[in-house]
Symmetry: C2
Subunit: 157 residues, 2 copies
């Protein structure tokens, strides 16, 4: 790992493993974390490879994945045949907006469970219903928080 100071290396390690918990592979997590704290916004294939001390194929596959999922975008400059890569922050915002859907999925799973469970389980059914209600609260409140946030942004941006 070259060109990266102590605190940036630490960031890549820590934020990388936070991303791994979210299901990204190690190399993908490290590419994202690296781009997040790199000293220029656009980094070439080779700069990524060298900074992360990874093989060409690992970087190539990681970049392909991130481009496919729109987490990064590629930039080409005339007179330079290299491609440069930078974060696509828009996509992160989209991911945040879709959190409500995730909670909806859990709420629907509990609904289905309550449907399949015996009505005799009065105590636990009541507890489950409460949890269901909390997910539903998230489902209704999160869009409110999001639009509050968007209003704030549009007035200042």
């Amino acid at each position: 790992m070259k060109n990266l100071n102590e605190s940036k290396l630490k960031f890549i390690e820590e934020t990388g493993s936070l991303m791994e918990k979210k299901g990204f592979s190690p190399i993908v997590s490290r590419i994202l974390s690296f781009l997040l704290i790199a000293d220029t916004e656009e980094k070439s294939f080779y700069e990524i490879q060298e900074s992360l001390n990874a093989s060409k194929s690992a970087v190539s596959n990681g970049i392909s994945f991130l481009l496919d999922k729109n987490f990064i975008k590629a930039i080409t400059n005339s007179g330079d045949r290299k491609r440069y890569f930078r974060l696509n922050i828009e996509t992160w915002i989209e991911v945040l907006k879709s959190i409500t859907e995730e909670y909806k999925g859990y709420r629907m799973a509990i609904d289905k469970a309550l449907e399949l469970r015996s009505e005799k389980f009065t105590e636990s059914n009541s507890q489950l219903t409460k949890i269901r209600d909390l997910y539903q609260l998230f489902e209704t409140k999160l869009p409110v928080i999001l639009s509050e946030w968007e209003t704030k942004n549009s007035s200042q941006a």
Copy 2:
């Protein structure tokens, strides 16, 4: 898979893979999903094993994990040497209450990134700051939602 009808099998499959996305292993996810829709609240080791068509060791390790994490509890009845297992719904509520911490982790990672990034990246830094602000909104609003929910429950429970 015995003793389980079509819709319950479907539930185990679907809810199981929802849990796998959250980081649980397949067998652990299926044990939880099974207990969620089983025809009695307490199920023995053998009933779990047979219903899920899994090996003894897989079920033993899965149960150990779930007991250790408090997702299920074991019940013994005198005159019966088997142990019975049932969901520990309290723990699920605790997990829900800790969601705020998760968002706090992301917010702190972005804070660190902003600290390590050049101030020259004005446009992207402003976008990142907005995302940071959304996570912080979650951080402040989720506890409010949770206490609204708890008040509602205490008045009806």
